[in-house]
């Protein structure tokens, strides 16, 4: 089985929330090495060469993201995005609660390598426990001299602020996150300018996902070759995959990118009660479904993209043949309608109309024409919004309507009312 233990090493065996335990395993050595022995440009160079891609959803190369910062002498900020709320994703939740120091060390290294002396971490409002755990980790690290002024006897300084959100999926979008961090409504900004040019408080800013920064200490420790030896050419490194749905052992599995979906299914214990897997959502709520014939595809950024979907945040949901895809589509559409910030009309109105159309279908008042309308409306609200939230409605909905059209048609001819929830 292609399991690796990099970011997940030690979880469930020892208490990595304790800084002493973390340090005994080599923790904070890379942070010390970075500050005392390495120039920021050397770390940027390593990250570029490693091909590390953002683990939050878009898969943008991390080194390139850092390299976009203008050299204009303005203060720079690093923001770690821990607003994990993509349906099906629960990797950052685990990292924050189980190995906060690993995330913190990565955060510090990332801040150092972009030349920022003030880093922020935006933790999802619902993660109250993770927030307390992370605050405690920051205090432990501060007491040990890893945060603050005169780091390791040099004149380097770094400050870390732990910020907690208050319940809004859209704040996972980086410009919405920055607005929220500035104390505003979490509404995405018009881009460009991108955060690298005008981000937090209008200054050059990098927003990186939790898992991305947590990968950095390992990259520094083991080097570029070790990192690129794992995974595929365009998707190197280990990736935590959140597997859920109709499997016997749902959970987080750390695998090299390029592992097949079937191997992931086997890792998660396979389907339940001898049922057959008929669909797979490979990259969180915003990704299109793959189907049984795709089980042998490699799970990496490029293969997923070639097959019309995406790796996204690394959340794989398996659906067996007992699934009601009309209700599944309704739940996801309702989610996007609920979480739309309301700035762009297509997303705000389109999401709502799709939700009530599906609700009517389930409750027994649907029309034959509704099925075409679902496809038409979801297609028309795509690509014309400020941020990708509106565009996230179509992929799953369209893929299951096309594949399981009979299930949708069956609701039309079903005269008796069923509760939509």
């Amino acid at each position: 089985m292609p399991v690796v233990k990099v970011l997940t090493a030690g979880i469930g065996e020892v208490d990595l929330r304790d800084i002493d335990v973390y340090r005994k395993r080599g923790g904070y050595e890379q942070w010390k090495r970075a500050v005392t022995e390495m120039e920021p440009s050397a770390i940027l160079d390593m990250t570029m060469k490693s091909g590390l891609r953002g683990r939050g959803g878009a898969g943008f190369p991390t080194g390139r993201k850092w390299s976009f910062l203008p050299d204009n002498g303005r203060p720079r900020y690093l923001v770690c995005n821990s607003d994990e709320a993509e349906p099906g994703t629960f990797k950052d939740h685990m990292l924050l609660e189980e190995t906060p120091h690993q995330v913190l060390e990565g955060l510090l290294i990332a801040a150092y390598s972009i030349g920022s002396n003030h880093a922020f971490i935006y933790i999802r409002g619902e993660f109250k426990r993770a927030y307390s755990i992370f605050l405690a980790a920051v205090e432990q690290a501060r007491a040990a001299g890893f945060i603050g002024e005169k780091l390791f006897g040099t004149d380097r300084a770094v400050e870390v602020t732990v910020h907690r959100g208050a319940g809004a999926y859209i704040c996972g979008e980086e410009t919405a996150l920055l607005n929220s961090l500035e104390g505003k409504r979490g509404e995405p900004r018009l881009k460009p300018p991108f955060p690298a040019v005008k981000g937090l408080y209008g200054e050059p800013t990098v927003v990186n996902n939790t898992e991305t920064v947590a990968s950095l200490p390992h990259l520094l420790k083991h080097g570029v070759e070790w990192f690129t030896a794992m995974g595929t050419e365009k998707s190197p490194g280990p990736k935590i995959v959140s597997v859920s749905g109709h499997v016997r052992k749902p959970g987080n599995y750390e695998v090299p990118l390029g592992t097949t979906l079937r191997e992931l299914l086997e890792l998660a214990g396979g389907p339940r009660n001898g049922r057959a897997i008929v669909a797979i959502q490979p990259g969180g709520g915003s990704s299109a479904c793959l189907f049984a014939e795709h089980l042998d595809l490699a799970y990496d950024f490029e293969t997923m993209a070639q097959n019309g979907t995406m790796l996204g945040s690394g959340a794989v949901v398996f659906f067996d043949d007992s699934t009601d895809f009309v209700k599944a589509a309704h739940a996801l559409v309702r989610f996007y309608a609920h979480e739309s910030c309301g700035q762009c009309t297509p997303c705000r109105e389109g999401g709502h109309w799709l939700e009530i159309t599906l609700e009517r279908l389930i409750e027994g008042g649907g029309l034959e024409s509704d099925i075409d309308m679902l496809l038409k409306v979801s297609n028309q609200l795509t690509g014309i919004n400020l941020c990708p939230l509106g565009d996230s409605i179509e992929p799953f909905l369209a893929s299951v309507v096309k594949r399981f059209e009979a299930q949708f048609r069956a609701y039309v001819s079903k005269p008796e009312a069923v509760s939509a929830r």
Binding site: G88, F90, E126, E182, A331
Partner: protein
């Protein structure tokens, strides 16, 4: 404002929250960033974000109350009306519903006797169905006062509710300074009329502007059944624009002579 609100001692709340709020402001390069943390701090003490709390946050951060309220209203975890002592938030997203969340949620609602965004009569429980809580490996899941409960079953729900009613549940209840109403959902408030408009009928009332326009339209149609042709925007802009320019030019010429 909500009629259920009672007068209470806000000074005691302030005494607890203000030092913390002042500390929070120092953590950020710009103080407005402390808005969400300050609202969290008030909610931790009061159990909700009261109008007084929003006023205080605004004063501390030099923000108008409207801005504070607008921001607070964006975030679903800020309750702008009092809620129950146990905020029960089961997930209704994909991984949970394909693992039986609709059944467990319906069971929970049945046991409580309330629906989405509602609080029980005794003020003990509030119920809100929420989106993915990032615990899909233990579906169906829920949060109780933001602490996770995993692998929900009717039996687990029964035990949980019994412990909460008996006061032995291991998650602390939320503070409750004011008795909650049936719902904490804040909808649009009925619009008041400005003083000058008090005696003017609403546009759609009989005799109102909209009504008169409608009557005028019907009268016109009765006289002349030919429908009004609405010209395309481009035509209106170009043709009318040229005509207006010509007319203006004519006027200028006339005035010059």
């Amino acid at each position: 404002m909500n009629g259920a609100l009672e007068r209470r001692d806000f000074h005691e709340v302030l005494r607890q929250v203000k030092p913390e709020a002042e500390r929070l402001i120092t953590l950020y390069p710009e103080k407005r960033s402390a808005l969400l943390p300050i609202l969290h701090a008030f909610q931790n003490v009061e159990g909700w974000v009261s109008p007084e709390a929003m006023d205080t946050a605004g004063e501390m951060l030099d923000l108008p109350r409207s801005v504070v309220e607008s921001t607070a209203s964006f975030y679903s975890l800020f309750f702008r009306r009092p809620v129950g002592k146990y905020m029960l938030q089961p997930c209704r997203n994909l991984s949970c519903i394909i693992n039986g969340a609709y059944e467990t949620n319906a069971y929970l609602r049945g046991q409580l006797g309330v629906g989405h965004l509602e609080t029980t009569e005794d003020g003990l429980f509030s119920y809100e169905e929420v989106e993915c809580l990032a615990a899909c490996d233990r579906a169906p899941c829920m949060q109780v006062n933001l602490e996770f409960v995993y692998d929900l079953t009717p039996q687990k729900i029964d035990e949980m509710l019994a412990a909460m009613r008996a006061g032995t549940y291991d998650v602390a209840p939320l503070p409750q300074t004011v008795k909650p109403a049936r719902s904490w959902h804040v909808g649009p408030e009925p619009m008041g009329k400005s003083p000058g408009a008090r005696d003017v009928p609403d546009p759609n009332d009989p005799g109102g502007l909209g009504d008169r326009t409608g009557v005028a339209m019907l009268e016109r149609l009765a006289r002349d059944p030919e429908p009004i042709r609405v010209r395309p925007t481009r035509e209106r802009l170009v043709v009318d624009g040229d005509a207006i320019l010509e007319a203006e030019a004519g006027e200028v010429e006339r005035s010059e002579h």
